[in-house]
Symmetry: C2
Subunit: 191 residues, 2 copies
DNA sequence: CTACAAAACTAACAATTGTTAGTTTATTTT
DNA sequence: AAAATAAACTAACAATTGTTAGTTTTGTAG
């Protein structure tokens, strides 16, 4: 029964993420979620413990992947531009793997209760590491002397909202996107 | 009494937009809004007709400004890059004027009821005009032969999310932002 | 000062919310 | 086949939701 339970549980998480993307956490009721899964609301509680826990699990899981990933990248002994490209690739890969979860992370993080502080820490850590890589690129002369804040904002925002475009199934293939975005985001600022 | 009524009404709209930005439309109750204004929930209805109308007014107002603005720009007899710069400037200006409203437009448009179709039309019109300007720039040789979809996505996403950064009061001044963003977004793709 | 309208209030409503209790049906283990 | 566990169900709860009705207070005009 273990595999079956797990798959039902995961079905609930995935369905929840999809609904959260469409209407936002607050506008999705447990009855909506249950109906989308094909059961009654009360039955959800055989698999999950609360609505809040669903959100928490979805967001924290992704946030940890991002923070761990950028940590690995930043410790590699390569130049800053290579690191930036790796960060962009990671972003595209993780988003393609879980676009609905990314939407929840982007739009509903403020509805986290118990795990809000932890999430905010993960996010700060990610942004700081990202910023350090950009700064490193400026210091080493790999990047033009652009405003770090603006560059950071522009790249991060584009990457964070990838979930809006990626699911438009196959219009853009992943490899195309990695190449195209890397060019678009970096070519203007590389020396 | 007319001016007083209007100012109270506008205070409600402005406060609502701020709360919508912080928690999203669905998570803001009429009691939250009333408390933020300093009155009781029932008293709101002396000034507005429904929660839905507040959202509608906030979003449609901005959406119309954007669509009218880009229409004016696209009919000017200049090159595509000049037009693109004008679009970027308009975006920054309108966002700086009303960052909370921009947040509502970005995040809560799907909760529009009566005006949803109208909003979606405005948005399509805006995106199509934007795309036409980019295409014009490619055709005339002003822009590199980049993937139009990716460039469009990248620029539009960055501009649409400006509201997240602009209110960080004065860190970046408006002129700085216009210049910096224009460089960051366009310099890499200009020939 | 009186009369009137604007804008606040209290109280309540019907609907909907997340969640729990208790029960029945399916499925797995022995 | 019996026993045990998992997962569905119905029914209900207390709280909260947007909104209305009716009343009182406030401020302005005659």
């Amino acid at each position: 029964m273990k595999t079956n339970t797990l798959s039902r549980k995961q079905e609930i998480y995935r369905t929840a993420a999809r609904l959260f993307k469409e209407k936002g956490y607050s506008a999705v009721t447990m009855r909506d979620l249950a109906a989308a899964v094909g059961i009654k609301a009360a039955s959800l509680y055989n698999h999950i413990s609360s609505k809040q826990q669903i959100l928490s699990e979805i967001i924290i899981d992704i946030a940890e992947q991002f923070t761990e990933g950028i940590d690995t990248i930043t410790h590699q002994k390569t130049d800053a531009v290579t690191k930036l490209k790796a960060v962009i690739t990671q972003h595209i890969t993780l988003t393609a793997d879980n676009p609905y979860g990314m939407a929840a992370l982007n739009n509903d993080w403020m509805h986290l209760e118990g795990k809000l502080d932890y999430y905010l820490n993960l996010r700060s850590q990610y942004e700081n590491t990202f910023k350090a890589i950009v700064q490193e690129g400026k210091d080493s002369g790999e990047l033009k002397d652009v405003n770090v804040e603006i560059l950071l904002y522009s790249i991060l925002t584009t990457l964070r909202n990838l979930y809006l475009w990626i699911p438009k199934k196959g219009e853009l293939k992943k490899d195309e996107l990695i190449k195209g975005l890397t060019v678009t985001l970096l070519q203007g600022v590389e020396k």
